[in-house]
């Protein structure tokens, strides 16, 4: 008997699930604290945060090379501590450093990895050709890695991560230090992998990378998750657009008074200041801008510049972490 049940949408179990992860070191430093998030199948998920925020620690826990001191994490339903070896067999990893042996050729790297993932000797050459082709490194495969450019090393890194035909790929700062052209190529590869159904978790401190490449992101700062969502959700979650006023340097002393005055203007949702800059979040710039300008005049302030924009990820980070990502 087929009775339609209550309308429950089928929800696939998450590919990666982190629950209250923490890592404290014996010295007393806490790298991450109470980190929770999940990654859905087929997503590109980004951990966004400045250097030292705890992104890499989180990732190292998920790839089983670091044991958490608190909380649990599952990858493809397997516990990263108890089923570590099974997790390792199922995932690919692209480290942050160019973890390349400069005396080996690209192909020799892949042969080594194929053996470490226990690919049968018969299947390895075909798989190696396939990943070389995927990252576009066939021509240079038999050259020693010391002759590779930064972009080529990164491609080899990715190829190494793909050897086990992983369902999940972990990438630590995939485009750190690359030139613009190489970055765009790596992005194209990541999109290609996503199109093949691979779930990808990456860390980044590039806002544009998180914005353009990731389906969802977790903003991490000081070892904690500050917000999780798609870049679009996070931006619209801020509620409204941002008007930025640049005050003439002579009026620097009036910034705080002006900020107070602006908070009572109808349509203004929040005001934050930095030196002679005021970021004003408004529901509708068109409706509120005249009132803002009136308030500026009433305070006798002079403006050097007015700018308004839809909220950027930058603004999201500022709102949740209390500082800009590049203020280091």
């Amino acid at each position: 008997m087929n009775v339609p049940g209550p309308s429950v949408a089928f929800v696939a179990p998450p590919t990666i699930e982190a629950l209250h992860l923490s890592k404290k070191y014996p010295g007393g430093t806490t790298a991450v604290e109470d980190i929770s998030f999940h990654v859905n199948p087929g997503e590109v998920f980004g951990l966004l945060g400045p250097n030292g925020a705890g992104k890499t620690t989180t990732l190292r826990i998920l790839i089983t090379v670091l044991e958490p001191t608190g909380g649990t994490a599952r990858v493809l339903g397997m516990d990263v501590v108890k089923d570590a070896k099974k997790v390792r067999q199922a995932i690919g990893y692209v480290p942050q450093e160019r973890a390349i042996d400069r005396f080996l050729t690209g192909r020799e790297h892949l042969q080594l990895l194929a053996s470490l993932y226990h690919l049968p000797a018969g299947a390895a050459p075909a798989r190696i050709r396939e990943v070389l082709q995927l990252v576009g490194l066939e021509d240079k495969a038999d050259e020693v890695a010391r002759n590779y450019s930064g972009g080529m090393k990164r491609k080899l890194d990715i190829a190494c991560g793909l050897i086990p035909s992983p369902k999940v790929l972990f990438m630590d700062e995939p485009t750190l230090g690359l030139d613009v052209e190489s970055r765009l190529k790596i992005w194209a590869h990541i999109r290609e992998l996503k199109a093949r159904g691979i779930t990808i978790l990456l860390t980044t401190n590039y806002l544009d990378e998180a914005d353009q490449l990731c389906d969802r992101i977790a903003i991490i700062d000081s070892g904690r998750v500050k917000a999780v969502g798609s870049p679009g959700e996070l931006k619209s979650g801020l509620g409204g657009d941002v008007v930025t006023l640049t005050l003439a340097p002579a009026d620097l002393g009036k910034v705080e008074t002006l900020a107070q005055a602006l908070k009572s203007v109808n349509g203004v949702r929040a005001v934050s200041t930095k030196q002679n800059l005021l970021d004003i979040r408004v529901a509708s710039p068109a409706a509120t801008l005249p009132a803002i300008l009136t308030a500026v005049n009433a305070q006798g302030c002079h403006l050097d510049f007015v700018d308004y924009h839809r909220p950027r990820l930058d603004d999201v980070f500022l709102a949740h972490a209390g500082r800009r990502i590049k203020d280091e």
Partner: protein
């Protein structure tokens, strides 16, 4: 088991490939110093060394056993260097993110260092042969020399790898190597026999496992089995204790880095 052999085989071959591409560094840093100890030091002290004191037909003949064990010492203590670089550039973490047994990296390193050391011992005995040092116990004796060398090398390589995993920077690693290696050589019977040393040095030299290895190898080259056998018995016991201590101490560092 099959998977383990596949891992260890592939990792060991990586060391071999690296070495084959670093021919010059290999030649200069490993082969030459030891052969030069034998050729230069051996010939230099030929006349100053009193045959009554060293109890050998020539100083080179006396020195051969010492240079063999010095080679084992230096190779063993340097055995962790490549892992140090792997740790620093992230390659080790890449290896550890793969589903390999946590011991395969260490095992591959032991295999590689032991093979290279054995080959070098043969080279040194070959050079000594050219200078008229013909081991009296023949190929059997040479096999036992290599066996003693491997016993000593296991402990040393374990210490070196543990050090590589524990140090903060590779500067620390190399200064510690220098700190360990020279005193080990001078406080042993590599260059001078025990009776010829000042008492306090002779006392310290007897606490040095290297001394016992040299004293077992020397009769294999100079006098014969009847002299050598009791000393071989002693050195095997000493090395088993030495290796157990080293491996026990090193396993802490291994577990911490490799999980």
């Amino acid at each position: 088991m099959e998977a383990y052999l596949q891992e260890v085989g592939a990792l060991t071959m990586r060391w071999v490939k690296r070495l084959s591409r670093e021919k010059f560094s290999m030649l200069f840093t490993l082969f030459q110093p030891m052969v030069f100890w034998l050729i230069f030091f051996g010939n230099l002290f030929q006349r100053t060394a009193n045959p009554q004191v060293v109890q050998a037909p020539s100083y080179i003949a006396f020195l051969a056993a010492g240079v063999v064990v010095m080679t084992i010492l230096n190779n063993g203590l340097a055995g962790g260097v490549d892992l140090l670089f792997d740790k620093e550039n992230g390659f080790l973490e890449r290896l550890m993110s793969t589903p390999i047994s946590r011991t395969s990296v260490i095992m591959s390193r032991f295999l590689f260092v032991m093979t290279i050391t054995s080959l070098q011992v043969l080279v040194i005995l070959g050079v000594a042969y050219l200078f008229g040092v013909h081991p009296v116990t023949g190929f059997g004796g040479i096999a036992v020399i290599i066996f003693i060398g491997l016993l000593f090398g296991v402990g040393l390589t374990a210490i070196s790898m543990a050090l590589a995993f524990s140090v903060k920077s590779h500067g620390d690693f190399f200064s510690m190597l220098g700190f360990l290696s020279l005193p080990m050589i001078f406080l042993s019977t590599a260059l001078v026999p025990l009776p010829a040393m000042p008492h306090w040095m002779a006392f310290l030299a007897q606490l040095n496992p290297m001394t016992w290895a040299i004293d077992a190898i020397r009769p294999l080259i100079l006098t014969g089995w009847s002299d050598a056998l009791p000393k071989i018995g002693i050195v095997v016991v000493i090395m088993v204790v030495f290796d157990s201590l080293c491996l026990w101490g090193a396993s802490r560092a291994f577990r911490k880095t490799l999980g």
